[in-house]
């Protein structure tokens, strides 16, 4: 079974046509991979489907806009992976 990071890296690669080998755990989806907000909707859709969750994009965006969080916390892929793991665990709790 692939790790959460591998799953989202594959989704990003397929959705945005980004070479898989360039997608690293430390990659920032926006700043490093150049994914814009519209493309990220397709990624969020695929992640929601793959993991059976609903990424709280609106909440994250609000926290960033309010200065309560940085984009690194949600969009660096190793951090995104951890968030997804948390959401999956919460769903099963």
């Amino acid at each position: 079974m692939s790790s959460t990071f591998d799953t989202i890296a594959n989704i990003i690669s397929e959705t945005c046509d980004i070479p898989r080998e360039t997608i690293k755990p430390e990659s920032h989806a926006i700043n490093d991979l150049g994914i814009d907000s519209l493309d990220f909707l397709d990624i969020a859709f695929a992640i929601d489907k793959a993991f059976g969750i609903k990424l709280p994009l609106e909440q994250w965006t609000q926290e960033v806009n309010d200065g309560k969080a940085t984009t690194d916390q949600y969009f660096v892929l190793e951090n995104l992976s951890a968030r997804i793991d948390d959401l999956v665990a919460a769903k099963g709790a």
Binding site: L41, A44, F45, D48, K54, P56, Q59, T61
Partner: protein
């Protein structure tokens, strides 16, 4: 269809919030200045307006699911296919189903049929946001009443 005001849906025939599906009726006008250019001597409903019809039908579904508290704005059109020509006077059946209800976005699959035959289809993505102002919200509620979409209170009570 009210082409002059871009209100393309005449009536909501059916909406099912459990199955997350909607069906609407839209009759292409027999006359319109649009047909003077599209095309001279051979009037056809423009494909972009068919897409808009699917978007508006999908939009009413998303508005209903969100109990008139949030508004969908078209963000992406994928896999649009146009199978047959649509002529003035055609009575169209526009259907949509919610593919995904995401955080701040929604995706639908929509189709148009004419006399039981598939006309076109597309996969649509919407950003779903707070209404920009109360006036727009009221306008949407008024239009919903005109086309037979149950109001927010009725939707809340199933």
């Amino acid at each position: 269809m009210r082409l002059e005001t871009f209100q393309l849906i005449d009536r909501i025939a059916e909406i099912n919030l459990t199955d997350r599906k909607i069906s609407a009726e839209a009759t292409v006008p027999t006359t319109s200045t649009i047909f003077e250019g599209h095309f001279p001597g051979y009037p056809l409903m423009p494909g972009v307006l068919l897409i808009e019809s699917m978007a508006q039908t999908s939009g009413w579904l998303v508005v209903a699911i969100n109990r008139f508290e949030r508004m969908p704005f078209l963000a992406q059109v994928r896999e649009a296919k146009f199978r047959t020509f649509v002529e003035p006077g055609a009575r169209l059946t526009v259907t949509a189903e919610l593919e995904h209800d995401g955080s701040g976005f929604a995706m639908t699959n929509a189709k148009i049929a004419h006399e039981g035959k598939a006309v076109c289809s597309a996969a649509l993505t919407f950003r779903v946001m707070e209404f920009p102002n109360a006036e727009m919200n009221q306008q949407m509620r008024d239009t919903a009443a005109r086309i037979g979409l149950p109001d927010a209170e009725a939707l809340a009570h199933g």
